[in-house]
């Protein structure tokens, strides 16, 4: 195949995944956390596509499509939550949702 080998795609995917992880763990705004979550999902999509190309089968791509659909649904629900929270005049801060504190 022309261009870089699959290894490179995978490395890009790995770095993107860790960037997304950092974003999820370090940001306090739920909106940004959702965005970071999207990055993670996309990173895994990239990995799936690369493996599909490697093996010459469509399974990876189908899987990536499903992931996309699920990610979209999850974004819908997540944004709905954020809007509901803001409608109740609560602080949009991940650290302040501590009802589960034991």
């Amino acid at each position: 195949m022309a261009g870089p080998e699959i290894t490179w795609y995978l490395i890009v995917s790995a770095i993107l995944f860790s960037i997304g992880t950092l974003g999820v763990l370090l940001r306090r705004s739920p909106l940004i956390v959702l965005l970071s979550l999207e990055i993670m999902l996309n990173a895994s999509n990239l990995a799936l596509i690369s493996f599909a190309r490697l093996h010459g089968g469509h399974d990876g791509q189908i899987f990536a499509l499903a992931v996309m659909a699920v990610a979209a649904s999850e974004v819908v629900v997540g944004l709905g939550l954020i809007v509901a929270v803001s409608r109740r005049r609560l602080t949009l801060d991940v650290d302040s949702f501590r009802v589960l504190r034991g």
């Binding site: 992880t21 999820v24 763990l25 370090l26 306090r28 991940v94 650290d95 949702f97 501590r98 009802v99 589960l100 504190r101 034991g102």
Partner: protein
């Protein structure tokens, strides 16, 4: 004959058991009669054994009867064995005879006490324990009887348990006796180790092979037990306090029987003591020391029972002196006569106390003779016997011991001198007591109670004397009910004639009776007998005379030697010394251990477990932070770890 011995042993136990089981369903009086009858039945059994032994020739008078094997481990066997021999039968007769009279006396003395049944159960139990002690066929059963006697003494001293002094006295007696029990047990351990047996005969034979150090240790251990039980120095401080118990208890346990158990032990184990002569000499020395110290202290006592208690201590000192020098027969003879006149003295004192509604302070008494003439006679007889005036019993027995001391070489003669001084003191303190209580003009207190009808104690006496005597509405007048006066009369007669069983060189059935069991080491000559007797009687009379001067005619003032009087009143500070040396360190140590071990380790470990569990729970609870981000971090970290695991497993 053997059946007689078994009957003797178990009749009092059956009596105690019956009283306990029947409880409230019998009247208090009935309990008293059950107890008395059980002891008299025991006396009958003892007489049967005695007669049986009489019929045999002297060499054959030893019978061991084993009911069953009690303990058997390896080659060491102990049976439930009774020994019927002259010594044990002698003790059986004394214990059940005098004991029976005293229990009879108690029916009158304790009349009206709400817990009379308990008292009589304890008395029967005591008689059983003492009989177990003297009839034991091996050392282990003797130790069992020893311990049970200590228990009975504790129960009876603390009979009026609402009184704190009685409880304290009971504990003191028990703890001091426990020290003696411990030394005895140690001696028995050594015996078992060296000879492999605790039967009398085999142990004595086996002991001849032991090293002298071990023999000394064994003898010392036995002596320790004897000293504790017989209230000799240094384990003597419990006996005066034991007077907190009812007077019949003092008469029976602390005059006639239990405190003589030490003397019996030495005579029974005399082969062991003869193999450790230095310990035997020590016993004699302790006896001499005690008889002097007790005599001195008795001079300043103001409680009628305490004077008699110190007198007991002193007389047992004489017995120890006797058996310590090897005069076993004479020592036991004094034991018997002492049982008679000392019990008599206690019981007569009890009549006085009973009549005066519980008063025991002699300073409040006086002129009791006018009110209680029969008691006066009884007390006089007892006192004369105690001092050793012929022809009363004490004369024969005490002088026999003194003669033996005179015949025992240099050391013996030193002790003889001490014994003579003792007779002077005996005369002095005994007749001090007698003159103060009985002669002179009747004191107020005596006049109050002069009519002879016993009502409830009056106001100010009530608080002081409550619980000391029992008072009922007795129909009898005079000096007491017949249950009290008859035993006193019997003992009076015995105190007079009891000594006539052994007149030196004229006839000595008593000495012959015990000869095969315990051959005396020393036989005084006629001259020594006469010299000893003359000196003893003379000094005794001197003592009586001095007492008359100060207390009888009241013609002279008492010499005031302040420091001495103070020391004597404090009983030579033995109690304070023991408190300092034993009690305070023990309490301090207990406190230290409580602080360093009990509370932190044992108490702390329990609370520590609960606290630790709580804290662990708390720590674990910290993981539930509620932080979304920390949960996410946990997931990420777990994922990282899992990747490593997968890579490693690959």
């Amino acid at each position: 004959m053997i059946q007689g011995a078994w009957l003797c042993l178990f009749a009092p136990l059956a009596g105690a058991f019956a009283i306990t089981v029947m409880g409230d369903s019998i009247t208090r009086r009935t309990a008293g009669w059950i107890s008395t009858l059980s002891v008299f039945v025991a006396f009958a059994g003892a007489v049967v054994s005695f007669v049986g032994l009489l019929g045999e020739s002297p060499g054959e008078r030893e019978h061991l009867s084993t009911a069953w094997t009690w303990l058997s481990t390896g080659s060491f066997k102990i049976g439930m064995t009774l020994l019927v021999d002259p010594l044990s039968v002698l003790m059986m007769l004394i214990v059940t005879g005098v004991g029976g009279l005293i229990v009879l006396y108690s029916i009158g003395y304790m009349d009206g006490d709400p817990e009379e049944r308990r008292y009589f159960a304890y008395m029967s139990f005591f008689v059983f324990s003492m009989l177990m002690l003297v009839q034991a066929g091996n050392f282990l059963l003797l130790l069992v009887g020893w311990g049970l006697v200590g228990l009975a003494s504790y129960l009876l001293i603390g009979f009026w348990h609402e009184r704190a002094e009685a409880v304290a006295a009971a504990k003191k007696a028990f703890i001091m006796n426990a020290a003696g029990d411990a030394t005895m047990a140690l001696a028995f351990f050594v015996l078992i180790w060296q000879t492999g047996t605790l039967e009398f005969a085999e142990a004595f034979v086996g002991a001849e092979g032991m090293s002298s150090t071990l023999l000394n240790l064994v003898a010392l251990g036995l002596l320790g037990g004897a000293v504790a039980k017989s209230a000799q120095i240094p384990l003597h401080t419990w006996l005066p306090d034991a007077m907190e118990g009812p007077t019949p208890v003092s008469a029976l346990i602390h005059a006639a029987t239990m405190v003589t158990a030490g003397v019996y032990l030495i005579v029974r184990a005399h082969p062991l003591f003869e193999l450790a002569p230095s310990i035997q000499d020590l016993a004699a020395g302790l006896g001499a020391l005690t008889l002097l110290v007790a005599g001195f202290i008795a001079l300043v006592q103001t409680d009628i029972k305490r004077v008699i208690a110190y007198s007991t201590m002193s007389q047992i000192g004489y017995m120890f002196l006797g058996v310590g020098l090897g005069a076993y027969g004479n020592g036991m003879f004094h034991l018997m006569t002492h049982a008679f006149f000392k019990a008599l003295l206690f019981m007569a004192a009890g009549l006085v106390i009973h009549h005066l509604a519980g008063e025991q302070d002699i300073r409040r008494m006086g002129g009791v003779r006018r009110v209680m003439p029969k008691t006066f006679v009884a007390f006089l007889v007892g006192s004369l016997a105690l001092v050793g005036i012929p022809p009363l019993s004490g004369f024969f027995s005490k002088d026999a011991i003194l003669a033996s001391a005179l015949a025992s070489g240099g050391y013996g003669q030193l002790l003889f001198a001490a014994g003579l001084l003792g007779t002077l003191l005996t005369g002095l303190y005994t007749f001090r007591l007698f003159f103060v209580v009985f002669l002179g003009r009747p004191s107020e207190l005596v006049l109050q109670h002069a009519q002879g009808s016993h009502g409830r104690p009056e106001e100010e006496d009530a608080s002081r004397t409550h619980g000391k005597t029992a008072h009922g509405e007795t129909a009898s007048h005079g000096e007491g009910p017949w249950t009290m006066t008859v035993p006193v009369a019997v003992l009076t007669v015995l105190a007079v004639i009891g000594g006539w069983l052994q007149i030196p060189d004229v006839w000595h059935p008593f000495g012959d009776w015990l000869h095969d069991v315990a051959e005396p080491l020393v036989e005084p000559s006629v001259t020594q007998d006469l010299v000893a007797s003359a000196l003893a009687v003379g000094l005794g009379l001197v003592g009586v005379g001095v007492a008359w001067l100060f207390y009888g005619a009241r013609s002279r003032e008492l010499p005031r030697v302040a420091g001495v009087r103070h020391a004597l009143e404090h009983k030579l500070y033995f109690d304070e010394l023991y408190d300092l040396v034993f009690y305070r360190p023990a309490v301090w140590m207990a406190g230290v251990w409580r602080r360093t071990i009990e509370e932190p380790l044992i108490g702390g470990s329990i609370t520590g477990v609960s606290l630790g569990a709580r804290r662990a729970g708390g720590v674990l609870g910290e993981t539930q932070t509620g932080y979304l981000r920390s949960y996410a971090l946990a997931i990420a970290a777990a994922a990282a770890v899992l990747v490593v695991v997968f890579l490693a497993v690959q």
